[in-house]
Symmetry: C2
Subunit: 200 residues, 2 copies
């Protein structure tokens, strides 16, 4: 095992390396809608659990030195939907990261389906098998590198009830959910074991 | 697909459910050392990539209404190590979540090996195949639920160089790294595909 001098890597190589270091990440599509009614869809691997009661999840956004449709839509409307990426839509999910023009919807460009539910203002991804609506509660600007940490309350959650285990865990594999490494690796999973609550 | 009334779930069931919603998570062992020299080891699934230059990673800590050895050690010493959990140590990694007494080291209790490297003050996990030292840069208290968001700079990174791909990504599967669902599900992964940079 060696110490890796990653600070000498060329810029993109360094980004790919450091993006690998936290480990496997979630794969989620965040849908938003501008005040003008243009929908937007973007893949995020930075979702992090913040708490169960209230039910909170956070996302990290890159610096807004260039226009960021997802971030500006959320600042305007305070709402979004989070949709798990599954095995059959990961290529379309990755394609949402292309730089489309303002006014173009990634739903249309990638062929993913806008699905409106229970009068929520922003569509869900019809193909996703685990999805929920979000309300923005707090934005924190991380001055250390000008990224943005947004905390959301989880509102309405949709999935097949048979994918919920007796103790409340969701069987993510049954929902087809996948995991991401670095910026472009897509992986399916196989359960090794569910362990019981640890005692000394 | 149904709307799930998870707010009516019993407390632990609700926690298991909401902890599943962000998707697959990383599995990392955080090692720290108190000023008195007692080492501590704890499993975390909340590591999140913050940036590549400077190289930053953050962790979410639960409220410190009860003593939290990892958090108090980091506040005292400003340093820690992050060690990826792999297939052969996930049971020991999970066992670190048991409530051992203050003054007891989870290294000793779980049989994982303290490994000191390059004069860093805190040990690494000898068994881990991808690990790095951390320096605390910023603590943010999330008032919404009294959790703590700590941002660290990634200092020295150790792994086998042959597990770094040409473009800089780390082959996490070759390092044995696994992924976690909810609070107790441990999963291995299989690569579906690495996709190229998306263009419109």
């Amino acid at each position: 095992m060696e110490k890796i001098e990653f600070r000498n890597f060329e810029k993109r190589k360094r980004a790919n390396f450091v993006n690998s270091l936290s480990g496997f990440k979630s794969a989620n599509l965040i849908a938003t809608k501008s005040r003008e009614g243009v929908t937007n869809l973007a893949i995020f691997s930075s979702a992090v659990h913040i708490g169960a009661d209230p039910a909170l999840v956070a996302l990290v956004f890159r610096p807004d030195s260039v226009p960021r449709d997802t971030l500006s839509n959320i600042r305007e409307t305070k709402v979004a939907t989070l949709n798990h990426v599954h095995k059959n839509i990961y290529k379309q999910a990755h394609q949402t990261s292309a730089r489309y023009k303002e006014g173009e919807s990634e739903f249309e460009k990638t062929g993913l389906t806008e699905e409106y539910k229970d009068n929520f203002a922003v569509p869900f991804v019809g193909e996703s098998r685990l999805k929920y609506s979000l309300e923005l509660k707090k934005e924190i600007n991380l001055e250390i590198n000008n990224t943005h940490f947004l905390i959301f309350e989880i509102m309405d959650v949709y999935l097949e009830p048979e994918n919920i285990l007796d103790q409340g865990q969701i069987n993510l594999e049954a929902c087809g959910s996948i995991t991401v490494s670095s910026l472009n690796g897509y992986h399916e999973t196989h359960l090794l074991e569910r362990l019981s609550y640890a005692k000394p």
